[in-house]
């Protein structure tokens, strides 16, 4: 009983929870910054730069504006971060799932809203007009991403459900398990548009270039973050990095889950047995997941960042509800008719 409790606590605190999110998230965003710099022929900051930023912000004074509500101002970032960490617990790492029977894909879709909400409420509570404008844009960005995301998730559910004979499959663990047995969904023709659409959603959800109208530092002083300073700001920056991890690992699990099957076969081929095999599998899973996340970050965030300029908010909305949604819809229709 106590052992169980310790195990679950370790899940939440260490892997795949808090510590893992902290390290990988910041590392991913460091790699992102480095890659963007290299693409622009700059040297770029060290890969550990986000860590420096985070710790520096922890050492700064926290100014609470007189107009702000102190409790909301301080708690909102923490709730957002906690929400993200919990979300990460529901995303399996190939064969390893911390909590599979708590939440399904639709719940994950809604949990993705919690960090955005926390930043909106925290920013709104300061009363700054910049925060108001930022909030408006953030909400529209969330709104824009929602439709394609919904379509992609429904397409995947339908595809896996039809293939496994249950008709519908909302459980992410099941989706990964299916892929481990039958190869990645990216290999299926009908899922390719959905995967592309999801890739396009990643920068929008994480609020990176060119979809960062909500946090445009040059025009609206980083919007909702305008009044934040010190450690709460650091927590928001951390949440932002962790969200990159969440979105990319969600992509891996939705479309590239088949790689986990390869890892299992590899471990089997090595002839290991028992605990050693399990440990090695998890280790390899994590390493592979991390590498894939890096690649996805490079493709979906860094590259897009380096080659585009910031869009206006109505352009973001239009882009997502036309181009990206159409791609996802194609996938959904194909999956519906069993292709």
């Amino acid at each position: 009983m106590i052992l169980e409790a310790v195990k679950y606590l370790a899940y939440v605190l260490i892997f795949p929870g808090f510590l893992f999110c902290f390290l990988t998230g910041l590392l991913l965003s460091g790699i992102d910054r480095k890659l963007v710099a290299r693409m622009q022929k700059r040297v770029g900051p060290p890969i550990l730069q986000p860590f420096y930023d985070f710790f520096k912000l922890c050492g700064k004074e926290t100014i609470i504006p007189a107009a702000a509500n102190r409790t909301v101002f301080l708690m909102a970032p923490l709730v957002g971060l906690a929400g993200l960490v919990v979300l990460q617990l529901f995303i399996p790492v190939f064969s390893f799932t911390a909590f599979s029977s708590v939440a399904d894909v639709i719940v994950i879709l809604y949990l993705l809203l919690i960090p955005a909400l926390s930043i909106m409420i925290g920013g709104g509570a300061t009363g700054s007009p910049y925060a108001g404008v930022g909030l408006s844009r953030e909400m529209v960005t969330v709104l824009s991403c929602e439709l394609p995301l919904v379509l992609v998730l429904l397409a995947v559910c339908k595809k896996v459900g039809a293939a496994t004979g249950t008709g519908l499959c909302f459980s992410l663990t099941e989706i990964v398990r299916y892929q481990m047995a039958n190869g990645s969904l990216l290999g299926k023709l009908s899922m390719i548009p959905a995967a592309v659409a999801f890739l396009m959603v990643i920068p929008g959800e994480t609020g990176s270039h060119p979809f960062d109208a909500a946090e445009a530092e040059t025009e609206i002083c980083e919007g909702m973050l305008a009044e934040y300073s010190g450690a709460p700001l650091g927590v928001y920056k951390l949440s932002h990095s962790v969200k990159i991890l969440s979105m990319t690992s969600l992509f891996v699990m939705l479309f590239l889950g088949g790689i986990g099957g390869g890892i299992q076969n590899l471990v089997l081929a090595l002839g290991l047995a028992g605990g050693a095999a399990g440990a090695l599998t998890i280790l390899l899973d994590v390493i592979v997941l991390f590498l894939l996340c890096v690649i996805l970050t490079a493709v979906a965030i860094s590259f897009v960042h380096a080659v585009t300029a910031r869009l206006k908010i109505e352009q973001i909305f239009k882009y997502y509800w036309t181009v990206v949604s159409a791609l996802a819809l194609v996938s959904l229709v194909l999956a519906w008719y069993g292709l």
């Binding site: 808090f18 107009a67 909400l117 007009p129 429904l154």
Partner: protein
């Protein structure tokens, strides 16, 4: 017969409300007396309903009560009956509970108005009307109750007749409401001409086998009649007007309770009287109507600039969810729909009460004029946020649990039938949910966050009684969201099962064996399974969130997270002011109806079209009603 046997409780729970109304008319000048009677009557009504919980919900009984003990003779139900099956009781519990909370709220909310005795009389009449409607076992009595509640609702809408638009809203509601009531009466009488009875159970046995053009016409008439009571599209402008103008405690009843009576009527009509839900075309009709309602009203809500009007449109949007889910004709779908109906009553009640609190303190509900109230009314803000999160389906509040079930139900139905239309409903529901979130973010920003206008410097928190009422509803929102399994097992699943056991319903009323002998057609009897493909356990999620939050907070506090520089008079000079690009702080509130212009810009043609369409002229709304009636008649004649 023992006066305290359970048999009598349904009639008691209606009568106490009317009795209370009567007493307040006579002795209502005394303030204490009036409040005591109103509270006692509403609580007693709730108590009688709650006493029926065990036999009806847990043991699956149907309680039949014949007024004057005139039981059916010779296969004909002559007397007037009350029939309480799990479906009726579900709505009865919901209604009486919210009525009680609204009554607590009224005491302090209405303290500044004059003619308060009349208010309580009408309030209790409205509550009694709805209770009578959901417990009645007689179609003509349903009509009477519809008239009573429409009448009380109209009068209460116009209660603050000096307020802007109250009279206008009341008149529009009266006109279209009367068209609806007349439709119900005409439908009732046409059915009577066919089967020569008014008892619901007997009609359910006789009608399905004897469909003729006349009964089909009656179906369309009754359908439109109940649609006006539920304010479904195209009757939604009335809801917006009426909710916006009525006092908040009445808006709670109109939106949370009155619309439910319409949904109840539709369920009784299509699942019991006509048993037509097995038809794909009927399912299409209901689901389509529900989807259109949910989408049109949520977009209308996004364009509103009045707090209560915005809430009113949302309430129709949520009713759309309920109808779409109920129209699926699966046990799981009905369970999900009823669950959402319950949640809607709770969170919409909470939101209207919060809007009422804002109105009570500031005197306006215009989103463009408010702002920054979170510093002045912290409790109201938190309670409002609970309601806002619930309605936008943010876990772990109750809105999410039921919406999640609705997504599963529609998608499952789509996969089972291979009909891509149901899939569109799922997508529509998911997108609508996000749009709902957007409009509540707008309200939050415009009313509670942002900057406080000068004239509201002296605003105070609302009195305890009002906060108590909101607190009760907020706690219920959280509890029903955290324990979805309990709610479905003890409330919605018995009700959903009752919907599918028409034969038992008839036999209970008319004597066993009646259904088998009288029914020409085989009743609808699909397998009643409540299985779903997804998993969601809110308690575990909340535990995990709490652990994570605790961990993060401990780390944060250990790292001197809230180290704040000390405020002293010397360095007060501007450090703690907001950053305005270096300028001194000036009043500049970002909010109001145009907050999401990035979204609205892309939809500008749609929005301007909708704006033109909702012209506010009562003739137009009446015309919509007539057109809807004509369409319903044509559709019913063709497909039924």
């Amino acid at each position: 017969m023992n006066m305290l046997s359970l048999q009598h409780f349904p009639i008691y729970s209606i009568m106490v409300l009317f009795l209370g109304a009567f007493l307040i008319v006579i002795f209502g000048q005394n303030k204490v007396f009036r409040h005591t009677v109103a509270l006692l009557a509403t609580f007693a009504s709730f108590f009688f309903m709650a006493m029926l919980f065990k036999p009806v919900m847990l043991e699956g009984q149907t309680i039949a009560y014949w007024l004057g003990n005139r039981v059916p003779a010779g296969g004909y139900a002559i007397g007037i009956a009350l029939e309480v099956d799990a479906l009726s009781l579900f709505f009865g519990l919901l209604v009486s509970c919210v009525v009680f909370v609204a009554c607590i709220y009224s005491i302090q909310y209405m303290s500044h108005d004059d003619n308060v005795p009349q208010y309580y009389t009408l309030f209790l009449m409205l509550a009694g009307g709805v209770m009578g409607l959901v417990l009645s076992g007689d179609l003509f009595n349903m009509f009477i109750m519809v008239e009573i509640l429409t009448f009380a609702a109209v009068a209460l809408t116009a209660f603050r007749n000096t307020a802007n638009g109250a009279l206008e809203a009341a008149f529009k509601y009266l006109v279209v409401g009367c068209i609806g009531s007349t439709c119900i009466l005409a439908g009732t009488i046409v059915l009577y001409a066919q089967v020569h009875t008014l008892n619901l159970a007997q009609m359910s046995a006789l009608i399905p086998g004897n469909l003729s053009s006349a009964t089909k016409l009656a179906f369309a008439l009754l359908f439109i009649g109940f649609c006006t009571k539920a304010f479904l599209v195209p009757f939604h402008p009335l809801a917006a007007d009426a909710h916006g103008a009525a006092p908040a405690s009445i808006s709670v009843l109109i939106s949370g309770v009155l619309t439910k009576s319409g949904i109840y009527g539709l369920i009784r009509l299509s699942y019991f009287l006509f048993q037509s839900m097995a038809l794909g075309t009927m399912q299409f009709w209901l689901v389509f109507l529900g989807s259109v309602s949910m989408f049109v009203c949520v977009t209308m809500a996004l364009a509103q600039h009045d707090f209560k009007r915005l809430l009113a449109f949302h309430s129709i949007s949520q009713i759309g969810y309920v109808l779409a889910s109920v129209g699926l004709c699966t046990a799981f779908g009905i369970s999900a729909g009823l669950y959402h109906a319950m949640n809607h009553t709770l969170f919409k009640g909470l939101l209207f009460l919060a809007a009422g609190a804002v109105l009570h303190e500031t005197g306006t509900t215009d989103l463009g004029k408010l702002g920054g109230l979170s510093k002045k009314m912290p409790h109201t803000t938190v309670l409002f946020l609970v309601g806002a999160f619930s309605i936008s389906g943010i876990p772990p509040f109750n809105g999410f649990a039921s919406k999640w079930m609705i997504y599963q139900a529609t998608y499952q139905r789509a996969v089972e039938t291979g009909n891509i239309g149901f899939l569109l409903v799922t997508i529509c529901a998911l997108v609508t949910s996000t749009l709902t979130l957007a409009s509540f973010v707008k309200v939050t920003q415009s009313v509670f966050f942002g900057q406080l206008p000068k004239e509201y410097e002296n605003v105070k928190e609302v009195p305890f009684g009002m906060r108590l009422a909101m607190g009760i509803l907020a706690a219920m929102c959280l509890v029903t969201g955290l324990l979805p399994n309990m709610v479905t097992r003890y409330l919605t699943e018995p009700a959903a099962r009752a919907v599918f056991s028409v034969v038992d319903y008839i036999n209970n009323m008319m004597g066993s064996g009646y259904a088998q002998s009288a029914m020409a057609a085989q009743p609808l009897n699909p397998d009643v399974s409540f299985a779903s493909a997804g998993v969601w356990s809110p308690v575990s999620w909340l535990c995990l969130l709490m652990i994570a939050l605790l961990a993060v907070t401990i780390v944060a506090i250990a790292g001197k997270y809230d180290r704040v520089s000390i405020k002293t008079p010397e360095n007060r000079s501007g450090k703690y002011d907001l950053f305005y690009g270096g300028e001194e702080t000036v009043y500049s509130q970002v909010g109001g109806d145009d907050l999401f212009w990035g979204f609205k810009h892309n939809w500008r043609h749609y929005f301007s079209f909708m704006h033109e369409l909702h012209s506010g002229v009562v003739n137009d709304y009446a015309l919509w009603a007539v057109v809807a009636l004509a369409l319903a008649i044509v559709y019913a004649l063709i497909v039924l």
